[in-house]
Amino acid sequence: MAELFEKLGGAVTRRIWQLGYAARFFAHVLMHSGTALGRFSLTIREMYFAGVMSLVIILVSGLFVGMVLGLQGYDTLQRYGSSEALGILVALSLVRELGPVVSGLLFASRAGSAITAEIGLMKATEQLAAMEMMAVDPIARVVAPRFWAGVLSMPLLAALFSAMGIFGGYLVGVQLIGVDEGAFWSQMQASVDWRQDILNGVIKSFVFGVAVTWIAVFEGYDATPTAEGVSGATTRTVVTSSLAILALDFVLTALMFTGGTAR
């Protein structure tokens, strides 16, 4: 019985130690970001691999999510004779929640896992050690550019996801089903507040970007330098990032959207 508690306590202290270690690593990356921001070409290169390469999956997924929202939304709204509110439903769902969250999850599984694998592999083949031996700080040269690339790419990807989604909702709602086009856009414009909804959505995607990329670079840098080690790290990145996104989404939504209406 005592063993059980011992194991539990050990697991908890290990997690807390890991969290502290990860936080110190995060501070280290931020402090050594000079190269990443000064020699911006390094960051731009990583933005290509993290952001541009994710465009296809983000745009396609956004389109489909928007179209499904259009279908499901219409089905429910028309029961209450409120099918003209379809624009509002699609826009708010995407801008407030689905845009940041789903694009965050997709980014984590596509770009996040790629970053982890890349850094982990560089560690396993001693490339990071070789860099250190040549008096070049691998955190400044390899890790920081990837971190900033992820942070800068996420809000853009989330915005594109939402935009594509709204377009998808428009396609299904207006073109396919026949909801009034004028009502679709005007009701949407009247109800979507740029500060309350869109800006908050951007803030969310920025926070998610920080979380996902931080986890991705940390797991890669911390991976055991073997094949199993790297593969385990990649899986952990996707799982931990996804959980982090969902948990942070709850916290941010609670702060942003209910606090405002409690008058």
């Binding site: 070409s41 731009i44 290169r45 933005m47 290509y48 952001g51 541009v52 465009l55 826009a91 801008v95 790419s153 809000p155 853009l156 990807l157 915005a159 594109l160 939402s162 935009a163 594509m164 709204i166 856009w185 949407m188 414009q189 009247a190 979507v192 507040d193 740029w194 909804d197 869109i198 951007v202 209406t261 008058r263």
Partner: protein, 165 residues
Amino acid sequence: MKRSTLDIWVGVFVAAGFAGLLFLALRVGNLTFSTSQTYQLEAKFANIGGLKKRAAIKSAGVVVGRVSDIGFDNESYEAIVTLNIDAQFKFPRDTSAKILTSGLLGEQYIGLEAGGDDKMLKAGDRMRLTQSAVVLENLISQFLFSKAAEGKDEGKDAKAGKNGK
């Protein structure tokens, strides 16, 4: 991948991202580049109901401004609402401000009905004619009360009628 091709693609990506954001803000949201001036008016209400900050102020159904602040007067126990009116619209001094609801269960806004006075409201003026929001519960209890009173009157009339005969 050549450096220049890479740069081009990232540039396209960033531009597209900003375009998406702009689309959301302008077409989907209600961001307007109105650098128009506004002036402030005050209005006191006995009950503002569900009126919120940034609620619309409409006259003849057109948005002419937004509610900027809602406060409470501890002396008269009334709500003080600060209205930000677009500078191009001037209203007479006897304009009335009512708190209305858009749709049946919609959001509340302030409706202005222009009066006939020659003199216009200036910045900082207080509107004299106001009508509070309709609170559903009060409406219902009013209805019940009046129904009950009607019933009593009918009874009294019937009795008086009988007696007076």
